[in-house]
């Protein structure tokens, strides 16, 4: 009796102490409730044969029938391979470049130069993929592209980039890095800003070289951030970047498809003249479930190896 009373008292105290903070959380809670949880029952649309007249819940339940078409095409293996590998390449290469940029900025002495350079690097992030696609075409097309013009000066034969599948993994990864590196580096840069200056000073006094300082102090300090961002990006590994692929390559450039077809572009082709919400929703649902499982799995692994860095 006495114990529970005490506990009650304790809880009351905590409540009193924290209620202001809880109040601050309310907008966020409401936001997620309305925009993320309330619409969730709509996922049901993925399992029905959607009928406009009957609505989502009145339509006939057909289970996983909506996914049948992917299996019929026999391309599932290729699509998953491409999607996952591309995302893996984007995540890893992006991360390396972003960390590198953040560290380099951190080493810069001129604040003014750093500010301008940073702004400049963030710029590509605000260019839409539609425009990026146009840039790409201006550079790579075989009739009057910049690339072939330059190659021409050196006496090389023109390259038909748009019918050369082997080139595309590199081009796509490069574009993804170019577009995201500046913006992504901000997070790492912010983490570095929070670094304890005394530690660096101490290292300097002890005679550590710049390389040593980076290797033994700065990089280890970035580890939690790297792991956190990695965990977050795991959720989307089965979700291709449709904007990038569609705008760079076009919808039906068959010669490139072996190397560039991802789930999203495949579904686009299947749905473009056949607005079937249920099928689209079903695919998206599978991607989400897969992402969810992946996040949980990665988190468990992280927890085992470095318990402090796990999200939950």
């Amino acid at each position: 009796m006495g114990r529970s009373l005490e506990e009650k008292k304790k809880r009351k105290k905590a409540w009193k102490k924290d209620r202001k903070f809880l109040l601050l959380c309310i907008p966020a809670i409401i936001f997620f409730l309305i925009f993320a949880y309330l619409p969730m029952p709509g996922i049901y649309v993925a399992f029905v044969r959607f009928d406009y007249g009957k609505g989502i819940f009145g339509s006939q339940f057909i289970g996983l029938q909506n996914l049948k078409f992917i299996f019929m095409s026999g391309k599932l293996g290729l699509l998953v391979r491409n999607t996952v590998l591309y995302n893996f390449a984007f995540i890893v290469s992006g991360m390396i470049v972003q960390v590198l940029i953040a560290v380099l900025f951190n080493e810069l002495d001129s604040k003014i130069f750093r500010k301008y350079a940073q702004s400049f690097m963030i710029l590509p992030n605000f260019i839409s993929y539609v425009l990026v696609g146009l840039f790409g075409f201006a550079i790579f097309n075989s009739t009057n592209g910049v690339l072939n013009m330059v190659l021409g000066w050196f006496g090389s034969d023109p390259v038909k980039v748009y019918s050369e599948p082997a080139l595309w993994p590199f081009i796509l990864v490069f574009i993804s890095i170019w577009k995201g590196a500046g913006y992504g580096s901000i997070v790492y840069f912010a983490a570095l800003m929070g670094l304890d200056g005394e530690m660096l000073e101490a290292a300097q006094v002890d005679g550590a070289s710049t390389i040593q300082r980076i290797r033994y102090i700065i990089l280890p300090c970035l580890r939690p951030t790297v792991i956190l961002l990695l965990l977050l990006s795991m959720g989307g590994i089965l979700r291709g970047n449709f904007d990038l692929f569609y705008n760079m390559i076009g919808g039906s450039n068959v010669t490139l498809l072996d190397k560039t077809d991802i789930l999203e572009t495949f579904i686009f082709r299947a749905m473009v003249s056949n607005a079937n919400f249920s099928t689209a929703a079903a695919v998206s649902f599978v991607q989400s479930v897969f992402g969810f499982i992946l996040v949980l799995a990665t988190n468990t692994i992280v927890k085992k190896v470095e318990p402090d860095y796990a999200i939950f």
Binding site: R49, Y52, G53, Q65, N66, K68, F69, M72, S73, G74, G133, L134, F137, F140, N141, S142, T143, K160, V161, Y162, S163, M248, I249, G250, G251, S252, N253, V254, T255, L257, F266, F268, R269, A270, M271, V272, S273, N274, A275, N276, T279
Partner: protein, 553 residues
């Protein structure tokens, strides 16, 4: 408002039917089928309109307007309730028009009109609610492409007008052909009124520069051979011009559309899927069939030819990944061909004249060789009478006036003369100076009453040229032969999606000769279609067609 309606119609047509192509934009292939309609072939027992006996006396379903000794008795004053779709004109000018209209209607048929609008916002739900609740609308807008006319007819929502029509809508009855009625017939009942006197035909074309053709000594581009000559001549004589400077997309099908109409007998109809249309109907006469032109030997020849054209540089090397404004290219003289539908050709004449007055345009009509083109379904926009209607007879009389009486036609279509429109000295319709869009805006959304014969045209500088084109293609008009047949894809949903994917992957690349070796590409396309279950799909379509035909008898 027309635009809104068109967009809505297009959207819902796209959404509700998977086997349809909306014939516009860069889409060359256009199908008349899908959810659609019109005549049922001769073999079917349709309403035998010619042998219907018109008696001297007819009671009519409501008894409010009987025919006695060959004369219609309108002594009882009634109100006809009509439902239209759309947002009512903001300024409320429609009320004034109806006031004016009701004066005339009272005098002519002793009745008045009461209009209800269903606003665009959430219109489909509201419309179904009205039908389900059984509000007794005498005239109600409906369409088979985006408001489920046949589905509702199946549920008995609409009244059979067959017997009433000759008595109460004599003009409409006399002016409508047997096959046109067939397009409005569901299981032997006429449940809708046709949209049939607003002539339009969507037929795909390649617009080309007639002045260049003359320069090259080509009299006319009207076949694949002459098109080839024209393109070769452009490459030889017009440096910097690409014969067909256009982008390729997953929806590209213009060359396939050309080939189908020039080299084969296949026709597009119900069962044609998506933009790639790997399935069609066998021919104009054998239209209750579902076959695939892709598996035809001729398709390989087509692929080879297109590869040859592509290699010669008829279109940009990287077009499948390019973004090109083909219209701008054509207008600025950087392209020799513009692909569009005939309705897209009309405005091009004026635009070109503005860009380059010395240019002359002509068009390669794919359908010219075969000499026919299926019209839209009769029930694209339509009007029905609900099963619970209280005054169907007077409603039909009124509808007959809406469509065939010049005075009432002008009033309903354009509004009040002097307020909404005036007719100028040259006989063209224009806005009066006093017209104020905020207060005087008026429109009539019962689109099926439109009638070309009673139209007062607005002035168009290029009218003569447009009229000449219309005169050329009008004789090709052939009533859509598939009656009220609607394909139900429930059993083959996965196949439809998979076939769509296969077609949008392979057709654009093959038709532009950008899929590597043509024979191999065709083999791969066929394999993809087979994997996608095209055989199952075609069998299902034919099964449903048979069932439908059996039902009609």
């Amino acid at each position: 408002m027309k635009k809104v309606k068109r967009i809505l119609a297009l959207m819902s047509a796209l959404a509700m039917t998977c086997g349809m192509l909306a014939g516009c934009g860069d889409a060359g292939v256009e199908s008349n089928g899908g959810s659609n309609t019109a005549t049922v072939a001769e073999t079917n027992a349709v309403v035998d309109t010619e042998n219907m006996v018109v008696e001297q006396n007819f009671e009519g379903p409501s008894g409010n307007t009987p025919v006695v000794d060959g004369k219609i008795d309108t002594s009882k004053f009634v109100t006809v309730k009509m439902l239209m779709l759309g947002d009512p004109p903001a300024g409320g000018a429609d009320k004034k028009v109806y006031e004016e209209l009701n004066k005339i209607l009272k005098e002519r048929i002793n009745a008045e009109l009461d209009v209800t609008w269903i606003e665009w916002n959430n219109y489909d739900t509201k419309y179904q609610m009205e039908l389900v609740s059984g509000t007794p609308y005498d005239l109600i807008f409906t369409t088979s492409t985006w408001l489920n006319l046949w589905g509702n007819a199946e549920k008995g929502a609409f009244m059979d007008m067959k017997e009433m029509l000759p008595y109460y809508a004599p003009n409409l009855w006399a002016d409508t052909k047997k096959e046109e009625w067939a397009g409005c017939t569901y299981k032997g009942q006429i449940v809708a009124l046709p949209e049939h006197r607003m002539w339009q035909l969507s037929t795909p074309v390649f617009v080309y520069r007639a002045d260049w053709a003359k320069e090259f000594g080509i009299d006319k581009v009207d076949s694949m051979e002459t098109l080839e000559q024209y393109c070769d001549a452009i490459l030889a004589n017009k440096p910097g011009v690409i014969p067909y400077n256009a982008p390729g997309s997953v929806n590209s099908n213009e060359l396939y559309a050309m080939w189908l109409r020039q080299e084969t007998d296949y026709v597009l109809g119900p069962g044609s899927i998506g933009m790639g249309c790997p399935t069609t109907n066998k021919s104009k006469d054998e239209n209750w069939t579902c076959v695939s032109p892709v598996f035809d030997d001729k398709f390989v020849d087509f692929a080879k030819k297109m590869k040859e054209w592509g290699d010669k540089g008829y279109w940009p090397e990287d077009l499948l990944s390019a973004t090109i404004d083909s219209e701008a290219m054509f207008l600025s003289g950087k392209s020799g061909i513009y692909s569009c539908n005939v309705s897209g050709y009309y405005p091009e004449i004026g635009k070109m004249a503005k860009e380059d007055p010395s240019a002359e345009l002509d068009a390669f009509f794919f359908d010219e060789k075969r000499g026919f083109c299926f019209s839209d379904v009769m029930t694209q926009d339509s009007c029905s009478i609900t099963a619970t209607a209280e005054n169907p007879e007077r409603a039909l009389m009124m509808y007959d006036l809406f469509q065939y009486d010049p005075e009432i036609y002008h009033l309903t279509q354009y509004g009040i003369e002097g307020v909404q429109y005036v007719v100028n000295a040259d006989g063209y319709r224009e806005r009066p100076e006093s017209y104020n869009d905020e207060t005087d805006s008026y429109y009539w959304d019962m689109w099926s009453t439109r009638n070309d014969a009673l139209e007062i045209p607005e002035y168009n500088e290029y009218e003569d040229q447009i009229d000449a084109i219309k005169a050329k293609i009008k004789p090709w008009t052939t009533v859509n032969p598939w009656g009220s047949f609607v394909l139900n894809t429930t059993n083959v949903d996965a196949e439809v999606t998979a076939i769509n994917e296969a077609a949008s992957t392979w057709l654009p690349a093959i038709q532009f000769g950008k899929a590597g070796d043509p024979e191999e590409a065709v083999a791969q396309y066929r394999e993809a279609l087979t994997n996608a279950g095209i055989d199952t799909y075609m069998a299902e379509v034919e099964r449903q067609m048979k069932e439908y035909l059996a039902d009609q008898e």
